[in-house]
Amino acid sequence: MDKILAKKDFPRWLEALGAYDVYAPQLIDDVWNYELAADPKAVSLDYPQTAIPAKKIVFPQREFFFEFREADTDDYKLKELLPEGKPTVIFGVRACEGKAVTLTDLVFGGEIADDYYWKRRNAAVLVGLACASPPSTNCFCLSVNGSPHSKEGLDVLMTDLGDQYYVEILTDKGKKLVSEGGAIFHEAKPPDKKAAEKIHADSEKKLARELKNIKDVPAKLKGMFASPFWDDESMSCIRCGICTYLCPTCHCFDINDEVESQTPLAGRRVRTWDTCQFPDFTMHSSGHNPRPDKAARLRQRINHKFQYFVEVWQNYQCTGCGRCITLCPVGIDIIKVVEKVRDHAS
């Protein structure tokens, strides 16, 4: 059932995927990001961590809801603008991003499902890449119920064995994707499986960072709502959107009408990413702001990830990718903050 793909044959797999939009990590101006792979031969899966996680493909930073157009006076025509749902494959997805997608699935699913998200999500095939060594110095997936070789959210899991990939097919979508490659895949043999398993087991020992013993953190946070702890921790926050925009699990968004013509009135209703860290996120029209200061907003971010989401979905809303730590311009460290919460005198 598991397959082997020689590294030299990897471009041939990509070449067979003409019917898909193929995304893979690419280095542009010293920054890795998932981009459309124009040239199969140029795609390499030897990369650390993207700045923007794979969520941007199933939940893009900007998408259209519908078009509105004034027909006659006081009559409107609305045209729904659902995504095409073109088959899409994303290569190189890290375990933390795969797990994060299962969390955004919870938010956008449920009784009232978000059609825009699901059109893209159902059309997307996530091909994971097991982390032989941590892609970032701030990885801590093991501490939040994840692992460097987790299969959650993925359709295929590839493990780099040196000159070949160990390919595990996890879902029907993954099966179809692999079958597109045809004969370039060979059956994996027991020694291959052992080699992959060894890489997986070893990878768990290499994580540089840990967030230990956080079982009681949700309850602790409940008692710390009014604490001046948040004023101290948020003092260096500059209230940008980096931690949340680049978080694989964050899903807050804004809806705005973008007008293209005044007479007749025409435009589109547009969804864009938004963040609880911007000062005006919760501001009412009246000017009243439930979260008027940085302390309240940092408290919201930590509480949402380590208390509220846990209460609703029994999962931390954090998969330990470390992006918020690496990219925060002032070094606010979520591991340190949660450790301080854990150790805070009750």
């Binding site: 609305l78 009232i112 978000d114 809806i255 009135l265 208390q307």
Partner: protein, 273 residues
């Protein structure tokens, strides 16, 4: 096939009434769907779409027993509500909903209901008031304690005059005026003045945040338990379905798990609204 939840239904404005003029203007709108529509429960809200400007989540103040139209009373506050105030009879807007939870009026049958509202806060609880009036035999005594800053700021002026013949109505304004004969002071003070009995009574309060806080305090003082006091909360909203993350109070999304809360439930949540 279930309709796209973000797509509003086109709706026509069939009546516009100015309740309060001036800078803090309040208008009442009645709307009719062009095609299809939805039924709602007391306390639920709908997203009104003014194309090109945006959306605003407004409580549906008509009773669910009224099938011909939906009624909304809207305070002019910002960009979208200003655009709503410019609407005329015949204007087309979009409406999607109904959103949120409802007042558990079934479980209140046989009880007395006390409505305590201030300013525009009478609108979100108006649907309950109208429904219990229509089903009067199912409920006990109905009392309304309502106030506004000045007498011109009182909403539903004609309806309130009519209401006096059907239930107990105590009105108030914040500062004395020459023609005003009733209570002068805040709604919370009027509650303490009139001392409605908490026995077998449910109290529903709604108004500006400060009024809700003082009324809950006053009601508690005169013997209402936490689970006897209900309110409806507001927060800035965009999606209305608990996904965009904007309106949360703790683990609840006001648009989905609220806006109706008993004080017993609300005080369990972080006081961040």
């Amino acid at each position: 096939m279930r309709a796209n939840v973000y797509l509003p239904k086109l709706t026509k404005v069939i009546s516009v009434k100015e309740e309060v003029g001036g800078v803090r203007s309040i208008k009442t709108f009645r709307t009719q769907f062009l095609d299809g529509g939805f039924t709602h429960k007391c306390g639920q809200c709908a997203m009104l779409s003014i194309f090109g400007k945006g959306e605003s989540m407004i409580s549906i103040s008509s009773s669910p027993l009224v099938k011909d139209y939906l009624q909304f009373s809207i305070l002019k506050m910002g960009r979208v509500t200003s655009a709503i105030h410019d609407l005329e009879v015949g204007s087309i807007i979009g409406i999607r909903g109904p959103y949120g939870n409802a007042f558990p009026i079934e479980s209140w049958k046989g009880k007395n209901i006390l409505f305590a509202g201030g300013g525009i806060g009478l609108a979100p609880i108006w649907s309950v008031l109208q429904t219990t009036l229509l089903l009067k035999k199912d409920y006990g005594d109905l009392t309304l304690i309502y106030g506004a800053r000045t007498s011109p700021d009182i909403v539903f002026k004609e309806e309130l005059a009519d209401l006096k013949s059907k239930m107990t109505v105590h009105l108030s304004i914040d500062v004395a005026e020459p023609e005003w004969k009733e209570f002068v002071g805040f709604v919370a003070q009027n509650i303490l003045d009139k001392k409605p009995s908490p026995v077998n009574t449910i109290a529903i309060t709604c108004g500006p945040p400060i009024m809700i806080k003082t009324c809950i305090k006053a009601l508690s003082e005169i013997g209402f338990k936490d689970d006897q006091i209900y309110t409806t909360v507001e927060n800035k909203m965009k999606c209305g379905i608990g996904k965009c993350g904007r309106c949360n109070i703790g683990r609840h999304y006001v648009c989905k798990d609220g806006p109706v809360y008993s004080w017993a439930e609300l005080r369990q949540l972080p006081q961040e609204y």
